[in-house]
């Protein structure tokens, strides 16, 4: 995730202090990974240098945490551009799982066992996410669903590969 763009976007609704930005970020997007203060201030000084934010005021006491930041016109344009640019779909073409399966077949180990254990591990994660979703609010549900659909895609690949193991064994031993 682009922390810079996200912080810029949060500033669009009005100027905020660094600690306030961190709190808003953690509340809305942090979930499992809250921002470090250091990340906030290094990001803000970069945005400041690039003219995407400006210092709107400094409270008595000084120090970076007392600065209040406001987004500039260039900052608004930057957020707009970021939002409008589609994310590159991840293609996952270099899969560790694929490598493990092929290596297992090449070394005459049980590839089906590897796939079964992986399925079990995936399902374990999916159970935790499903449980969290059940207890959570809509934001939690959407975040968990995103993760669940990705895990499900992996699982579909596992099933398909399990069904094609014999063929793959023939191919890799050529």
């Amino acid at each position: 995730m682009s922390i810079g763009h996200t912080l810029l976007g949060l500033l669009e609704s009005g100027p905020r202090h660094g600690y306030d930005l961190k709190r808003a970020f953690d509340e809305k997007f942090g979930h499992d990974r809250p921002l470090h203060y250091g990340q906030v201030y290094s990001t803000m000084s970069r945005l400041l240098k690039n003219g995407l934010v400006e210092v709107d005021g400094i409270e008595a006491g000084g120090g970076p945490e007392r600065k209040r930041y406001a987004i500039t016109d260039a900052g608004v344009t930057d957020v707009e551009k970021w939002l409008a640019t589609p994310e590159k779909p991840e293609e996952y073409l270099q899969s560790t799982l694929y490598t493990k399966v092929v290596l297992a077949l090449l070394t005459h180990r049980n590839a089906a066992d590897i796939l079964d254990s992986q399925r079990s591990e995936h399902l374990r994660s999916m159970r935790i996410l499903t449980d969290r979703k059940r207890r959570g609010d809509l934001a939690d549900q959407l975040v968990c669903d995103h993760a669940l659909f990705h895990l499900e895609a992996d699982l579909r690949w596992l099933e398909l590969t399990a069904a094609r193991l014999d063929k793959l064994r023939t191919e890799v031993s050529k």
């Binding site: 089906a112 079964d116 399925r119 079990s120 399902l123 159970r127 895990l151 499900e152 579909r156 399990a162």
Partner: protein
């Protein structure tokens, strides 16, 4: 067989063939009260046959199934029917509600078959429909409700006798993901609240994620992933 300690329903060395096709080839299974176990595996792997054997719908050619300490093979047809009617509940992919009856009559049906009075049966039916959030559909017929609602009515019908084991064969297979998940949430909540065991056949990982553990069935053989690790 010696059923695993504490298990409510257990099976070992199950074998079942249909003509030349081997559907089960030494499958094992166990579940205890209050547990949700998913049977997973590709189409034709034998998972539905395993469910049918466990539920006493199909008799295996060989092997042993023990329910609540009793060997199923020693029960006669009448005893097995009684078991299916009062101790087991069933939900299938398509609700299989009786189209001529209203939803509340459908839910009350298993109780009526067990001899409960109409008034008492419908009162209990409405309680269950409330838990499945379909109590407002009582007077409608199955043809007048959506797929998701119909499936919740079917779950209420399966649970109305407070079965000790609920068998669910692809219960969300005909639903979109939102409706499917709601059915799974309500089904597992309701089953847990009565300490019923749930045997869930599914090929969908998102549905299996509502289970406590999974047993993978492949080529008629089973693999209990919890015991495998």
């Amino acid at each position: 067989m010696n059923a695993p300690a504490g298990s409510l329903l257990a099976a070992e060395a199950l074998r079942k063939t249909y003509g030349p096709t081997v559907a089960l080839d030494g499958a094992e299974f166990s579940i205890h009260a209050g547990e949700v176990v998913a049977l997973m595996g590709p189409s034709g792997s034998g998972k539905s046959t395993l469910l049918h054997c466990l539920a006493g719908i199909v008799t295996p050619d060989a092997g042993s199934i023990v329910y609540a300490g009793r060997e199923m093979a020693t029960m006669n047809d009448a005893e097995r029917s009684a078991l299916r009617r009062s101790e087991f509940g069933f939900v299938f992919q398509f609700g299989q509600l009786v189209p001529e009856l209203t939803c509340v009559e459908n839910v009350a049906l298993p109780l009526r078959l067990n001899g409960t009075s109409r008034k008492e049966a419908e009162r209990t039916a409405l309680d269950w429909m409330q838990r499945l959030e379909v109590d407002d559909l009582g007077r409608k017929r199955p043809g007048e409700v959506s797929g998701g609602q119909g499936q919740r009515v079917a779950v209420a019908r399966a649970l109305v006798t407070s079965p000790r084991v609920l068998f669910a064969d692809e219960p969300t297979g005909a639903l979109d993901s939102l409706n499917g998940e709601r059915v799974m949430e309500l089904l597992t909540e309701a089953a847990r609240s009565t300490n019923a065991a749930v045997v869930l056949v599914t090929h969908e990982a998102r549905v299996a994620a509502y289970s406590d553990r999974e047993i993978v069935v492949r080529d008629g053989k089973s693999r209990d992933m919890e015991r495998a690790v």
